[in-house]
C-alpha cells in the first residue's frame, strides 16, 4: 500500500512533463476521497456489523468544522483540520456512548438512530447563526507549503494521505486482536462477550476511529466543495454511496471498500460526464439490488472464494481496457471503467453453486463466517 501510495503521490509532478489534463487529478482526488469515506465506514459497520447511516454526520461535521474555523473565524487551515477530525471522533464517541450502552439496541434500530443524528446535525447547521445561518459559507484557498504543488495537486495529495491513513488503520485493525474481537461481535455478539471480548469498549473504539477518519476526510473535502450549504453537505449522498461501495466490494476485508469505491466512483463519473446524469442514481440503486441478491458477501470475498474466476476477472479487466483503448473513443477513465465493469460482470456471473455446505445459515450475521 505504501509503495502504491508513494507512486501516486508523484503523479501531479508528471503533469509538468506530459501535460495531461487537470481532470485526472480531480478524478484521483474523488477516488481517494471515497476510499477514505468507505474505509472509515467499514471499520465500524463492516467489521462489527453495526450498520450506520451516519457517515454523512461525521463527514458533514468535518466539513462544517473547517468551514467555520477556517472559512469564517480565519484559523490556519492546517490547524482547523485536526480540530475537525477530533470533533467528528467526539461525535462518534457520543453516539456510541448512547447507543451501545443498551444491549437491546438491535442492528436496524442503530442504523436509524445514526440516520436521525445526521438529520439533527443538518437541521442545526441550517438553523444556527454560528454554524451556517442559512447563508452558506465560502471557503477561500488556504496558504500551504509549496512542495504540495498547485491547488488541485495539493488537495489530490491531501486526499491521498487521508486515504492511505484510513486504509492503513483498516489493515492494522484487521490484523490485530482488537480487529478479531470486532469480527467476533459481528458474528455473534453474545458469544463474543462471553469469550472475553470487551464488546462495549471495542465498539466504542471502532466508532471513534470511524468518526475521526470520516471527519478528517470531510475536512479536506471542504476545500474541494468550496461553498458549503447544509443541503449539499448533509445530503444522503455520502451515506448512500459509502454503503453501496462497501456492500459491493465486501465488508470483511480492508480491500473491499477500496475496490467498491474505485468501481462505483468511476462508474458514477462516466455516467455523469456522458450526459446520463439522470440515470446515475437508477444504476446505483440497481447495483445495490443486484449485489444484495446475488453477492451479499461482496466482490472481494467472491474473488477469494473462487480464485480462478478472480484471475478471469483480471483478464477481463485487461481485455476491457484494451478494447476500449483500441476503439479509441474517450480517454483513460473510459478504459478504466470499461475494464472494471467487465471484471465485475465476470465476478457476478460466477455464482457459487448452491450445495448444502454453501447454503447460508438461517441466522443473519453468521452468513459470511466462512470467508475472511
Amino acid at each position: 500500500v505504501l509503495v502504491v501510495a508513494a507512486g501516486l503521490a508523484f503523479v501531479p509532478n508528471l503533469r509538468d512533463a506530459t501535460d495531461f489534463p487537470v481532470f485526472y487529478l480531480v478524478f484521483g482526488y474523488f477516488v481517494f476521497f471515497w476510499i477514505a469515506q468507505a474505509t472509515s465506514w467499514n471499520i465500524l459497520s463492516g467489521y462489527t456489523g453495526y450498520f450506520s447511516f451516519g457517515q454523512g454526520a461525521f463527514y458533514g461535521l468535518g466539513v462544517y468544522a473547517v468551514g467555520d474555523l477556517f472559512g469564517r473565524q480565519g484559523w490556519n487551515y492546517f490547524a482547523a483540520v485536526p480540530v475537525a477530525a477530533a470533533l467528528s471522533a467526539l461525535l462518534g464517541t457520543a453516539v456510541g456512548a448512547l447507543a451501545f450502552r443498551l444491549g437491546s439496541l438491535r442492528g436496524e434500530i442503530f442504523a436509524l438512530l445514526t440516520l436521525a443524528v445526521t438529520f439533527v446535525l443538518s437541521t442545526i447547521a441550517g438553523l444556527s447563526n454560528w454554524v451556517d445561518g442559512g447563508q452558506g459559507i465560502s471557503i477561500p484557498i488556504p496558504s500551504y507549503p509549496s512542495f504540495l504543488g498547485d491547488f488541485q495537486s495539493m488537495i489530490y495529495r491531501l486526499a491521498l494521505a487521508v486515504a492511505v491513513l484510513a486504509v492503513l488503520a483498516a489493515i492494522l485493525i484487521q490484523g490485530s486482536r482488537f480487529g478479531a474481537g470486532l469480527f467476533a461481535i459481528r458474528d455473534e455478539e453474545g458469544v463474543a462477550e462471553e469469550l472475553g471480548v470487551p464488546t462495549f469498549r471495542s465498539k466504542m473504539i471502532a466508532i471513534t476511529v470511524t468518526g475521526f477518519l470520516g471527519g478528517l476526510s470531510g475536512a479536506v473535502a471542504a476545500l474541494q466543495i468550496g461553498y458549503l450549504t447544509p443541503d449539499v453537505v448533509f445530503s444522503l449522498n455520502v451515506p448512500l454511496l459509502v454503503i453501496v461501495m462497501c456492500v459491493l466490494g465486501g465488508r470483511r476485508h480492508w480491500l473491499g471498500p477500496v475496490i467498491g469505491a474505485l468501481l462505483i466512483y468511476s462508474l458514477q463519473d462516466r455516467l455523469a460526464s456522458s450526459g446520463h446524469d439522470r440515470w446515475a442514481q437508477v444504476v446505483l440503486g440497481a447495483i445495490l439490488v443486484v449485489v444484495i441478491l446475488f453477492v451479499p458477501e461482496g466482490l472481494y470475498a467472491r474473488m477469494q472464494a473462487r480464485p480462478r474466476q478472480a484471475l478471469l476477472a483480471g483478464a477481463a479487466l485487461a481485455l476491457g481496457m484494451l478494447v476500449a483503448g483500441l476503439v479509441g473513443r474517450g480517454d483513460a477513465t473510459d478504459w478504466l471503467s470499461t475494464g472494471l465493469a467487465a471484471a465485475t460482470a465476470v465476478l457476478l456471473v460466477s455464482r457459487p453453486k448452491r450445495t448444502g455446505a454453501r447454503r447460508r445459515p438461517a441466522s443473519p450475521r453468521a452468513g459470511e463466517a466462512g470467508v475472511s
Binding site: 436521525a116 438529520f119 440503486g285 445495490l288
Partner: protein
C-alpha cells in the same frame, strides 16, 4: 391561545397523514421482518399517479384508489416473492429496498421533473374545504386521511387478532420454524401480507396527492419522519403507529408555531433519539411484546 389550539388540531390532522404512511411500513417490518424503505417511494409514486389521473381526466381524485391500490398490491407481491426466493435477511431487506427506493425516486424525477406538482384546485373538490368548529378549522383532506388511518388500523387489528390469517401471521413473526411445523405456509401468508401492506401505501399515496404539492425529494423528507412514527408506535403495532403519528404531528406543529418551522424536525428527531434510548420497543409496545 387559539393559535396554539389551532396548531395542535392541525398537528392531529397532519398526524393522520403520517400515520397512514406508517401503517404499511409497520406491518411489513413487524410481521414480515422486511424493512421496506421502498414503501415511501411507492406512496409518492401513488401520489403522482393520482395527480396525473385527476389532472388529465378531471375525475374525482379519490377514484384513483381503484388504479393505485391494485397496482401497488402487485408490486408488493412481486418484491416479497423476490425476497422469499433469495432468502434475504432482515438487514439486507433494508439495503435492498433502499436500492429500489433510489431507483423509484429518480424515475419519478425523470418522469414528472423536480418541480412542485399539485392537483389543480378546480379539479380537487376536497382541497379548499374546511370544517369550522368555532375558530378552529379542520381541513377536509386531512380529516379524510386521519379517518382512513384509524379505520385501516382498527381493521388490521381485528384481522390480526381474530382471524386465522392474522393468527398465522403473528405466529410467523414470533417463530417461523415453529409456525411452519404447525402447518403455516409462510410463503403464501407473507406474500398476501406484503401485498396488503403496499396496498395501504396506495391509499396513503392518493390522500397525499389530494393534500399537498408533490416533488421527488419529498420521499427523503419522509424517511426520518415516518420511521420515527413506526418506531415510536412500536414496530408492527398499527394502532400504536396511528397514535405516534398524531403525537409527532402535534409536536412538530406546536413547535413550528412556538419556535420556528425549521426547528420542528430537530425536536422530532430528538424525541426519536430519547425514545429509542429509553423505550426501544416504542411508546406503545411492539407487537407480541406483551
Amino acid at each position: 391561545m387559539t393559535t396554539y389550539v389551532q396548531a395542535a388540531v392541525s398537528g392531529v390532522m397532519v398526524g393522520g397523514l403520517y400515520a397512514i404512511m406508517a401503517l404499511g411500513l409497520s406491518l411489513s417490518w413487524g410481521l414480515l421482518k422486511v424493512i421496506n424503505l421502498a414503501h415511501l417511494a411507492l406512496i409518492l409514486a401513488s401520489g403522482y399517479v393520482t395527480y396525473q389521473l385527476t389532472s388529465s381526466t378531471g375525475l374525482d381524485p379519490l377514484l384513483s384508489v381503484f388504479v393505485v391500490v391494485p397496482a401497488l398490491l402487485v408490486v408488493g407481491v412481486a418484491v416479497q416473492w423476490v425476497i422469499e426466493r433469495f432468502d434475504v435477511d432482515e438487514l439486507n431487506t433494508l439495503l435492498l429496498s433502499f436500492g429500489l427506493f433510489i431507483i423509484a425516486i429518480r424515475l419519478l424525477n425523470n418522469i414528472w421533473s423536480a418541480d412542485f406538482k399539485r392537483i389543480d384546485d378546480t379539479k380537487n373538490p376536497y382541497a379548499t374545504h374546511s370544517l369550522l368548529l368555532g375558530d378552529i378549522a379542520f381541513p377536509v383532506p386531512q380529516l379524510l386521511a386521519l379517518g382512513a388511518a384509524v379505520v385501516i388500523a382498527v381493521a388490521a387489528f381485528v384481522v390480526l387478532r381474530y382471524t386465522y390469517f392474522g393468527k398465522a401471521l403473528r405466529a410467523l413473526a414470533y417463530d417461523r420454524e415453529v409456525a411452519a411445523a404447525f402447518g403455516v405456509d409462510h410463503r403464501r401468508i407473507g406474500i398476501v401480507a406484503a401485498g396488503i401492506g403496499t396496498a395501504m401505501g396506495g391509499i396513503a399515496g392518493v390522500l397525499i396527492g389530494i393534500n399537498q404539492s408533490l416533488f421527488p425529494q419529498l420521499a427523503y423528507e419522509w424517511v426520518g419522519l415516518i420511521f420515527t412514527v413506526v418506531i415510536l408506535g412500536g414496530i408492527g403495532n398499527l394502532l400504536g403507529a396511528v397514535a405516534a403519528g398524531v403525537l409527532i404531528g402535534v409536536i412538530s406543529s406546536v413547535v413550528g408555531v412556538a419556535w420556528t418551522h425549521q426547528g420542528a424536525p430537530l425536536v422530532t428527531f430528538l424525541v426519536l433519539i430519547v425514545a429509542l434510548l429509553l423505550r426501544p420497543n416504542g411508546l406503545f409496545g411492539r407487537l407480541g411484546a406483551s
